[in-house]
Amino acid sequence: MKACSRNRKLLADLALDHLDDSRAMQMRLHLEGCEGCRIYFESLAEIYAGQRGYLEKAPEAEAGFTLHHNLMAQIHGESTRPDSAVHWVKWAAAGACLLILMVCVALVSREKKTEPRVITGFSPTQQIQISSPKSREFQPTLSDYRRKAGRSFENLDALLSKEAERRSGTGDSVSISTLIQ
């Protein structure tokens, strides 16, 4: 036999002592005439009363010295002020955010520096583009040959000889002044 569906919540409240006296009396009167509700209520009351009885009869547990000692060591080790851990985490988070922001700003400014600069003020056809040394194309000048040869004089000599041969083929003469230009 099933319990009345409309009374189930009230029966749970009755089993857990949540009902006021008049309502509890009303429910107890109903239980006398309804077997389904009575079985339902008894099963709930048994669970609750069993656990309550167990807790009240069970002996009090005694906390050992080590528990209290460890706890106090943990408290003193952390800080003597409450909420310090929370504050520490807040400051750490704020610091991390600031650091990320600074890195972003530095990256953006670096990006801007590497972009080619355009000198304006002339007519559009006369705009001079000044690029960074690394991105600049190789020009047949002494400084570019020295850069290309690195620290080796042999390489520089070989490069210059090659350039002289190339120019002699075309009829151009190679001199220091032409290279410097």
């Binding site: 089993a15 857990l16 048994e46 669970i47 009869k57 069970a58 906390a63 408290i75 952390e78």
Partner: protein, 203 residues
């Protein structure tokens, strides 16, 4: 009035002064306050997990020290501590704290504690049967969802009012009532299944 709430009120004068000093940052006062509640908390922790009861109490009290300024006195201090402990227990299950092999035997010790409760008015067979049922209900409580387990624990073992439980858990009284009703219904179904199984085994 129940046993636990009477004990809570007996030391309320001292504990209130200690609590106020602890909220001002006095670690020694908090230590004294802990001494008042350690035993009761340990018993509650034994119900939750006998293997890690002391660790649970230590973590709970340390958590209470960190957030003691958040306690506004809307529920009993012990209920507030138990709510922290239930939360720690939930985290413990989620993170799967390592359990020492020797601690596994503490479960047996807890079971023995229930069986050895003296009751002169009953036959030993009846006592054994009741104890078995109590233990079974406790195992069923561990199988409930965390939200249901929390309200059942606070209502059954901590015995605070519905309002106190609602404030400790940070929800409405209606939510607590609804969770209690559903949890109790689930427990009833679980125990009824076992009773039916044992009856069929006897036949």
């Amino acid at each position: 009035m129940s046993l636990s709430s009477t004990r809570a009120e007996a030391g309320s004068g001292d504990s209130l002064a200690l609590l106020q000093r602890a909220q001002d940052g006095d670690a020694e006062s908090f230590g004294e306050l802990c001494r008042l509640y350690e035993g009761r908390l340990l018993r509650q922790a034994t119900l939750l997990n006998p293997g890690c009861a002391e660790d649970l109490v230590q973590e709970c009290l340390f958590g209470a020290w960190k957030y003691i300024r958040n306690y506004r006195g809307r529920c009993q201090f012990f209920t507030w501590l138990c709510a922290i402990m239930l939360n720690q227990h939930r985290n413990m299950i989620r993170k799967r704290w390592p359990i020492a092999f020797s601690n596994l035997f503490k479960w047996k010790k807890a079971e023995k504690l229930v069986v050895e409760i003296p009751d002169p008015g009953r036959h030993p067979d009846q006592i054994a049967e009741v104890s078995e049922r109590i233990l079974y209900v406790q195992k069923c409580i561990h199988r409930l969802s965390p939200k249901h387990r929390e309200v059942i624990h606070l209502r059954f073992y901590v015995d605070d009012s519905l309002e106190g439980i609602a404030n400790a858990l940070g929800c409405s009284i209606g939510t607590v009532k609804s969770r209690l009703f559903n949890a109790l219904g689930n427990l009833r179904e679980m125990t009824a299944e076992t009773a039916a199984q044992s009856r069929s085994a006897e036949l």
